[in-house]
């Protein structure tokens, strides 16, 4: 490897020309890269709508709501609400004008509104929107302004196997409590499907349990970092006890610590299937499985405390208009079209995500696709729903809850106290999350 170097004159190096040629190549490649990465644009306005993943329903609406003035193009976001927030927020913070419309999850509606990422809904537009359920309006409001237009409203129900409830001797025509279904399932070889992975869905469950016991995780969420955290309360302890009971019961599914809306579907369809709490859209998941479908019953979300009406989890999507959009007037026209009762109804049929307004439920095809009692239950549930606190710091609060309450089998009656301290420290920047 010791190359003799008799002469080290630079004249031998065929430098100049090839260096120039290479830098020319470099410049050409750089230009090509810039061209390739630039978006092409035509004369007609394109409104880019960032959507949460679905079975294609939003793409259909985008097409039908496109007009001669503008075309609505959809871009799909990740599945997880936390990931959706990250993707959107980073682009919005970068001042990207390539976002016009967004399908926004309630978990970060307040944060986006507080950061002025979205334009509040103008009075004139609000007047055109269908009259939304109370839960939907609450979840879409920040600082007394409607900040996103409610599009669909999801709510959780208690789904059960009729044969199992009969075997366990449970009267499902009356409201049932968590204690009852956990005991019934454990005693008769069944399981209770819940969402307890370390993710937003777990906090949805915790929030519903706390609110069902008459409490609130945050009482004045509008105060941002200075909000009062009240998870350390009687209601918080009740919630912790329910989680503890399920996690240490035979009714827990083996993958409880990673369970989500999808993992609980399959066990429900087996012989051990008994109960699951889950969103409206899962009804469709069993459409090809007639055995399960015919044996499937539904009821109001379980009560945390016997006799106290439950507060079912609220989910859904509101359509927001980006403040960095170049076509805000067109955006609002598109929003009016997207959230029309007709589109809400149609979307409910195709996706299983229910309308945010009573008018949407009137859509004939929807009434044909679902049993009337189920549609009634959904509407009753949305009206009773307990949305998550509307705090711009919700992702931090939720994250802090996830790290103190996960895994479910580690939850005890002292968890609310420790999680309260931790949430406060996180908000003050004194603890890492």
């Amino acid at each position: 490897m010791h190359v003799p170097r008799r002469s080290r004159g630079v004249t031998r190096f065929p430098g100049g020309r090839s260096v120039r040629r290479l830098s020319a190549t470099f410049a050409a490649l750089a230009t090509a890269a810039a061209l390739l990465s630039a978006c092409s644009s035509s004369g007609k306005t394109t409104l880019v709508w960032y959507i949460n993943p679905d079975t294609g329903g939003q793409a259909v609406i985008a097409k039908s709501c496109s007009t001669d003035q503008y075309t609505i193009k959809t871009q799909v976001l990740p599945t997880d609400a936390g990931q959706q927030r990250v993707q959107l927020a980073r682009r919005l913070a970068a001042g990207d004008s390539g976002i016009d419309l967004m399908s926004i999850d309630p978990a970060y509606t307040a944060e986006f509104a507080a950061a002025n990422f979205v334009v509040p809904v103008p009075q004139s537009v609000e007047a055109q929107l269908p009259h939304a359920f109370k839960g939907a309006v609450t979840a879409s409001t920040w600082n007394n302004h409607l900040v996103v237009a409610p599009f669909w409203s999801n709510v959780q129900a208690l789904w059960y196997r009729k044969s199992f409830a009969q075997k366990a001797g449970l009267d499902m025509s009356k409201p049932v409590t968590w204690d009852q279904i956990i005991t019934a399932a454990a005693d008769h070889g069944g399981t209770v499907g819940v969402q307890a992975n370390k993710y937003e869905g777990y906090v949805v469950w915790i929030n519903a349990l706390v609110m069902g016991a008459g409490g609130n995780i945050v009482t004045n969420p509008g105060a941002g970092v200075n909000a009062n955290i009240d998870i350390n309360s009687q209601a918080g302890v009740t919630a912790a006890n329910i989680i503890n009971k399920l996690a240490h019961s035979k009714a827990a599914e083996p993958d409880l610590s990673v369970s989500n809306e999808g993992t609980v579907l399959a066990p429900f369809a087996t012989s051990a299937g008994a109960f699951q709490v889950n969103w409206t859209f899962i009804y469709q998941n069993y459409s090809s499985d007639k055995t399960t479908l015919n044996d499937m019953g539904w009821a109001m979300y379980p009560e945390s405390v016997a006799g106290k009406p439950s507060r079912p989890p609220y989910g859904g999507i509101g359509i927001g208009v980006s403040s960095t959009s170049n076509h805000i007037a067109d955006d609002w026209k598109a929003v009016e079209c997207i959230t029309s009762p007709q589109n809400q109804g149609q979307y409910a049929v195709s996706s299983g995500n229910m309308p945010s307004s009573a008018a949407g439920y009137q859509f004939p095809a929807l009434q044909k696709a679902y049993p009337a009692s189920l549609l009634q239950l959904f509407q009753k549930s949305v009206n009773a729903a307990g949305p998550r606190p509307l705090s711009p710091y919700w992702s931090d609060i939720s994250g802090a809850i996830q790290s103190t309450w996960h895994p479910a089998d580690s939850v005890t009656s002292s968890t609310p106290a420790s999680s309260q301290t931790f949430i406060q420290q996180v908000l003050e920047g004194k603890k890492l999350l």
Binding site: M1, V3, V19, A30, A33, S37, D54, E261
Partner: protein, 277 residues
């Protein structure tokens, strides 16, 4: 015991290595032929119950995946070409010339090679969003180039040092111009090294994930590894195992092709300079 022919231990070792290396690959290939319905209900056996090509049809008509594939190829190839050009200059200088700061260049390259990529995410994101490079091809090409430069410089300078440069002079003595001497003598000798460096660089860019998910947000620049992390199947709450496996198989095909064609070069490049001490 000079290189015994085939003792049983060696044969067992040989089989173990093959199983080790190929089993997981066989597994994703097999998974890619299972139907989505089969994996949703649970399918723990190794081979599909019923073989289907549907996943390949779905993936190859999935616009987002095709965009990601185009981004991956474009970004990896451009980053490779540019990095190798820059590295060739630097490696030539390091192997053949004496100049002040040579040690500094080598230390810098070493520092970059050890650099935790994730540590750059925060400042690069902040910088890129100001320079409007966030979610663009150059936004990934630039960091990929600089992270592959150290490896390319090492590989190339090791190769360049082995080149009998005096042959160039001999050619000139025989009447060739310096350009001819360079082109006819040195280029053929250096080309394999440059090529090896290019393959290793390409592997890096093809593989990179942390920057790809942090500095992109749409299919305008998202590469396949990042796209796979965000991949959503027909059912948003069940990971589409078999479709992900199909995407995995497709993104592995270029790797396998390159390995099949150039295994000798890659091994030489990976180990070059690693053992001389």
């Amino acid at each position: 015991m000079r290189k015994q022919r085939l003792s049983p231990g060696i044969i067992i070792g040989f089989i173990v290595i093959l199983v080790w290396c190929l089993l997981p690959v066989a597994w994703i290939i097999s998974l890619s032929f299972k139907s989505v319905a089969e994996t949703t209900t649970g399918s723990p056996q190794f081979l599909p119950k019923a073989w289907t090509l549907q996943n390949y049809r779905d993936i190859l008509t999935n616009g987002d995946f095709l965009d990601a594939l185009r981004n991956s190829f474009g970004i990896a190839i451009i980053a490779t070409v540019l990095a190798v050009i820059f590295a060739t200059f630097a490696a030539y200088a390091i192997a053949r010339l004496e100049f002040r700061g040579k040690r500094m260049v080598l230390s810098l390259a070493l520092a970059i090679a050890m650099f935790p990529v994730v540590a750059l995410i925060s400042p690069l994101f902040d910088l890129w969003r100001r320079l409007h490079l966030f979610n663009t091809w150059p936004g990934l090409i630039i960091p990929y180039m600089s992270f592959t430069l150290p490896l390319a410089i090492w590989t190339l300078s090791a190769f360049f040092r082995e080149i009998p440069w005096e042959m160039e002079q001999a050619a000139q003595v025989d009447g060739a111009t310096s350009w001819q001497a360079f082109r006819k003598v040195i280029v053929p000798l250096a080309a394999p090294g440059v090529f090896t460096a290019a393959i290793l660089t390409f592997f890096f860019a093809w593989n990179e994930f942390a920057l790809a998910i942090s500095l992109t947000s749409t299919t305008a620049a998202r590469t396949v590894p990042a796209q796979m992390a965000f991949f959503v199947g027909p059912d948003p709450f069940n990971p589409p195992y078999s479709q992900l496996a199909t995407a995995a198989v497709i993104v592995t095909i270029p790797v396998i092709v390159i390995v099949l064609l150039f295994q000798r070069r890659i091994v030489a490049g990976l180990t070059s300079g690693a053992v001389k001490g």
